[in-house]
Each structure stands twice: as C-alpha cells, then as structure tokens.
C-alpha cells in the first residue's frame, strides 16, 4: 500500500515537473526537446507525457509532438528524443477569439493564404512569388508587414536566398490537413452559392 502510494507521489511530482518544463519558456523558443524531458523525467518520460495528455484533454489542452523529419513514418525512440514537445489548445479557436487575442482579420487571412500557397509547393516558394500572389489581394505594405511579423513569430522562415519556408510554429500549431480541407470547402461553398 505504502509502495503504491510512493509510486503515485513520485508520478505526481514528475507530472508537475513536466508541466513546468512544457509551460514555462526557459529557452528562446517555447517547448522542450525529448532528450531534455528524458534527462529530468527518466527513460519512461513518454509514459509521463501520455499521462499528462490525459489530464490536459478535459481542460482543452494537449501535448503536441513535432518530429524533425516531417514524414508519416513510424517514430522510434531516437525520433522522440529529437522531437520538440509543446502544449497547445486541443480545439481550434473561433475567429472572434483570434480577433480578441489581438490579431487582425486581414493578417490572419494573409497567413492562411501564404500557407495555402506554400503547402502544395512542398513547403517553400520564393518570397517574390508569394508577394506577387498576395499583392493581387492585399496592399503591398500590409503583406510585407504581415509576412515580417509571421517570420518573427516563427510561422514562416525566410532563408538567405529569399525563399519562404514553413516555420517551426506552423508545424506545431497548424493542422495542414485541416487547412487544406478548409480551403477546398471554402471554394465549394462559393461555387454552390453562385450556381
């Protein structure tokens, strides 16, 4: 009984450590690497993360794991060690929540359009190409300032060759499948209305 109680207490303590590591930024970027969790929580850190996930789900949160190779292959222990762990919302926000959080609708629309343009191009395109497409829809200064902001926040990444890539934050926060589906459905709705 006592041993069981001890184990429970130990697991509880580890859970608290995991929450603190995942919630409070200790590096320049949020989240922690798998090997950092392993160092603090021990080799069974994935079990602790799983337990944490089950506790977070009822309050609308989840642990999101972003692997280094973006493929759909099976992940081994080494992949988990190198992966980055974050806590994200479990359900998407409504547009009014996003606006209340300080985002402008046109900025969010620019990010949506940019990602929609990047995904079919293998996650990258020249900055000029993206600008050209977006300029047809938004004022140039607005596009430039929004892209700059999204690059700063990690949603996008621009390399020295002026190529725009999908940034680390997008991999952590945006569901690619869902966005692709939303863009497709959006068009279907429009076509339906016209007919």
């Amino acid at each position: 009984m006592s041993a069981e109680h001890d184990a429970e207490q130990k697991a509880g303590r580890k859970l608290a450590v995991a929450v603190a590591m995942l919630l409070f930024t200790s590096h320049r970027l949020p989240g922690v690497r798998g090997y950092e969790l392993r160092r603090r929580l021990g080799k069974n850190y994935l079990k602790i993360i799983d337990m944490l996930n089950r506790r977070l789900n009822p309050i609308g949160l989840r642990v999101k794991i972003v692997f280094e190779g973006r493929g759909d292959k099976e992940h081994g222990q080494e992949d988990f060690d190198k992966a980055r762990f974050f806590i994200t919302l479990n359900e998407p926000l409504t547009l009014s929540d996003i606006v209340a959080a300080g985002w402008r609708i046109d900025e969010v629309a620019i990010l949506s359009a940019t990602l929609a343009l990047l995904y079919p191009r293998g996650g990258r395109a020249t900055y000029g190409e993206v600008m050209e497409l977006l300029e047809a829809k938004f004022p140039k200064w607005r596009v430039e300032s929004a892209l700059e902001k999204f690059i700063r926040r990690g949603y996008l990444y621009k390399d020295e060759d002026n190529i725009l890539h999908i940034g680390w934050r997008t991999y952590a926060e945006i569901d690619q499948r869902e966005l692709a589906k939303a863009i497709t459905e959006l068009h279907q709705q429009k076509s339906y209305k016209r007919s």
Binding site: A109, A116, G123, A125
Partner: protein, 263 residues
Amino acid sequence: MNKAGRLRRVQSRKVRLAKEELERIIELCDSIEKSGIDPFSVNIKELLQKLRSILEGSDNLDVIVLDAETLYKISLVIALQHRWLKERASNLFIDAQIVSAKVLAADNKSLAQALARSWRPIVNGEQLTRRMIIEGMEYFLSLPPRGGKAEERNLTSNLTYEEASISYELLQDELLEQRVKELHLELLNEKLGEKGVNYWGFIAKEGEEKKLERAYVLSFLISEGFADLRREPITGELWIIPYREKIERRTPASVAVTIKRGE
C-alpha cells in the same frame, strides 16, 4: 602556331565549354531544389545523356570532378521528384494553381476562418519574477562604469546599493499605497509659496538617503492626480501644486526628472 599548340588550344576550349555546361546543369538543379518548383519540369534523361557525352569526351580531372558533382545534384532532383510524387499521391495534395485561384477568389474573412479551423496555438508562459528583478538590479549596480572617471559620473555608479535602490518593501503595493497617503497629507500641510511647493526642497526634506524614495512615491501621487508638477520655463525650477481631491487631467504629460546626489 604549331600543331601541338593548336591542339592544346582546342583542348582547353573544350574543357572550358564542358565546365560551363556542367555548371549550368548544377545551377538548374540548385534552383529547382531551392525554389520548390515542379522537379518534373526538367528532363532528367536528357541531362544524363549530356553528362555522359561530356564525360566520354574529356579526360580532364576538373571536368571529371565537376561531372561527379553534377551527377549528385541530378540525383537530388530525382529525390525531389520522388517526394513530389508522394505528396501528390497523398490526400494532402491540392494543385498549386487551383489553390492560387481559390485564394484570389476568397474574401479575407473566409480565408481567416479557414486558418482558424486548423489553428491550435501553443500555450506557454513568460514571466519576470521579483527575484529576477532584484538579481538584475544587483547585476546592474555591480557593473563597472564604462569609460571616464567614476567621480565624473552622476548618481547610480557612485552610490551604494542601499543608497540607490528604493527599499524592497516599498515595491509591495500595500506599503506603497500607505506611503502615498502619508506623503499626500504631508504635502497638504506644507506651507504653500506663490508657485507651490519647491520640488527639490520637498524630496530632500528627510535627508539624502530618503530623497530617491520620496521622489518615487511623489511620482505616484502626481500620476494619480493628487498633485501637479510645473516646470518654470526660464529658470527650470520645479514646483508641486497639491490638491485635496483627485483631479482629472485632459491632456496628461510626462516630466523626466534626473536626481543627482547633493542637488
């Protein structure tokens, strides 16, 4: 020119042309890899045939090395083609042209809504603790002055930690509120001159050690609207005008005051 010389010239021209051709192919492969354009837009078979003919027609070491590098770059494009096909075959694929058309046709709100549906932001906390502030202050005060003699520098670099800092307890809201009330009462009981109460005289009333603290508390009193601070434009003198009741300001302004030892 003799026959051998002519042959050498022809040879070096052939080498130069072969190198240029190989560099062009490398550049083409690089641009495909970097820009993310359709990797099937190049004819790999044709490139490999060119590579073969260059290799067969040259025994120059530089050309052979460049040829190997070109082959590596072509293999990268083939890998890209493989990935491209995989993406197209998956259900994630939507044609880039179709997406562009959709983006252009949609209104801003619909585009934003599409992203909102797929957006689950990261939850994380960033905070500055009281301990971090104290540590930062201690570090700042321990820094040696940059250039010039210490005596020539004003205030903080010459003061000790105790002298320069406002007492730690004062950072607590309740105590600060109490000190603001006390200072307000003191200010109201102060003998008013023609222009008000002299700022420097008032803050130095309890001596040099308390000067900074009194100025700090007074700043809250002024910000709250229980007093005004006026600067004489000609002499630069500062005067405090106390009010019994809080006043509303239509055009609030800030005044920066530098406090020096012995002023």
